[in-house]
Symmetry: C3
Subunit: 265 residues, 3 copies
């Protein structure tokens, strides 16, 4: 498994996929920098006049609803539709799912356009699963991490999407056995937008890796391992943000394989 | 006083208030990172469809007009109105007050919605005071820092708001005696958006501290002390920005109390 | 030549020009920080209600179409028109020229408003030249760097604008002999928006330097030299971004003159 994941990391570095991002204002800069650091090429564009051409140019689409409004939602829907028409993979980051009725309605419309993958934190994945199944299948009665895993499985069964849950342990849920990654550091939660970076990185891997479960696993493993190693030379969240970009760029095969703690359920 | 301020800093770290920001594009990323570094939880959201729910979810609102336009001004006004209805504290950062007629008009509408606090630099506070009093009370005939202090007092008397003036010396003006903080470093003016960070941090403290003068004082003291200490290990504005985030996160009681230079007029 | 360029760098530091930016969401933060680091004062503002006043207040305008849409294009056109009326210099950064029909149409409208300068990478300059000349003068049949240089000359002849081409070698094309700068480092391409920073810095120099060819040359030389020196203490793109801001701020005359490799064709 570690060998395959490392090969995928090299594939992104050498093939430099063009990643079209419709993402939130807060993280545009570090999302672009994270993509550049792993060897991908980021594009940010949202004008309805050029979306169809941009989707055609790019290898994958990343939609992140963080700072959504009606103009941006129109762009997200148009881009996702076009990605589907052109048969390009796309990933949805459901930032703040469950926080407001508006977010949940927009997420339903986006999920109806069949993303290839979805990545969120536990509460976002649980909110999505709840909104997309019948009321009687409520998943909010058991413990949280259990819930998120059950919710991810419900979401996968309903939509066929590969689901990633970020947290102390990261889960990748698909038709294959559930994968767990035990890397990263709590300090990563004090840097804004590393979840958004994870989604963008998954996008880059979806563009070059045929097996979508492996694509997500490689991206999540890369970010978690790089974050854990970057933390060792950091004095706080400011230096972690910087060292993470450096480590995404310089990570070696030995560092990756010796640090990664992965298991299949 | 130093003991009380340090207790407020610990209160933010432990209570982790949810801070709703409607702020400018330039600083969204470092505002979110500054809030995370002090232990608060930032949310950025501006869609009219979800503003009411977001205000209800959050503990405090930060409105910053930096890159305003008609869409964002509508969001600012709706959010401030909702904050008032739900009796949540909110702070206004009047970026560029006095620079254009449009800014001054928008600021008048926002101030009519009774912010809990306002923080700006000397010229912004002077512009606000001038726009909100009768012509005969013009405050622009004396020296600048005097002017800003007099202007802040006028502004406080007219609106009841707690007023912060940022500069070489920071002033906190309210019904209590004026407080001065003599920390920080000139290099902080070469990093974009540290004034905006100050306003966001004040927001976090307004959420957890009952006495609003103390809330603003604690936030301003924290940022100024952290900036001054961060400068000691910095080679320029790039490393200052990074080291400041680290120091906001790691600042100890001893560092805070030994560095803070505060006095009451 | 090196003496003159250094004098221009000092002129920006001492005169601190006010630079009005209408730029893309991805780079607003580091554009502002780069301008502050060289001693300039950045302003970001795009509301139609205040654009005319902002242009009047500022010394120069920077228009960057990176994340354009109809609202922002209206702001760009209005601002450029106003800059022309008030006879203020302005620079256009044609991000993604040639990528979509929409970008090319917007760029034609902007170029009709006679920018003082244009800076882009080789493919952007080639796309601009192609779109602005008759079909029979196609420039896409020869090798790339040759093409970009020929395209820049066509663009200069058609519009009178000073043209900058960024790349391994930077070219400045105007009525004067072509200038080449052989500084920088490939790692700079892994940091998002350094091309956008180059355009903003050129803006600052256009505001204080009468000879527009020298203005662009000084800005490009400053950024390339600072980037090359910053790379020496960097472990990857994250630390390069930070060290570059530090070096823009601290660069000395000796460092600049000893590092700069410049020649005239």
């Amino acid at each position: 498994m570690k060998n395959i994941l490392w090969e995928h990391i090299l594939a992104v570095r050498t093939q430099s996929p063009l990643v079209h991002n419709i993402t939130n204002y807060v993280v545009m800069n570090n999302t672009a920098n994270a993509l550049l650091a792993i060897g991908a090429s980021p594009i940010m564009a949202h004008a309805r006049e050029e979306i169809d051409e941009m989707v055609a140019l790019c290898n994958v689409l990343v939609v992140n609803i963080g700072t959504l409004d009606d103009v941006w939602v129109d762009a997200m829907l148009q881009t996702a539709r076009q990605a589907r028409i052109l048969n390009k993979p796309w990933i949805l980051d459901p930032v703040g799912a469950g926080a407001t009725a508006y977010r949940d309605q927009v997420l339903s419309e986006l999920i109806a356009l069949r993303p290839t993958a979805i990545r969120g934190n536990a509460s976002e994945i649980m909110a999505l699963a709840k909104a997309n199944q019948s009321k009687t299948k409520g998943v909010d009665s058991t413990a949280q991490s259990q819930d998120a895993l059950a919710a991810a499985q419900v979401l996968h069964e309903l939509t066929g999407v590969v689901v990633g849950i970020s947290g102390e342990t990261d889960f990748i849920v698909s038709a294959q056995p559930v994968i767990q990654i035990h890397n990263g550091t709590p300090l990563m939660t004090r840097v804004t937008g590393l979840g958004c970076s994870a989604s963008a990185l998954i996008g880059a891997f979806l563009a070059v890796v045929e097996n979508k479960t492996e694509a997500m696993t490689a991206a999540v493993a890369l970010l978690s391992v790089a974050g854990e190693l970057a933390e060792k030379t950091s004095n706080g969240p400011g230096s972690l943000q910087m060292n993470l970009l450096d480590k995404l760029y310089t990570l070696t095969e030995d560092e990756f394989k010796n640090t990664l703690r992965i298991e299949t359920l």
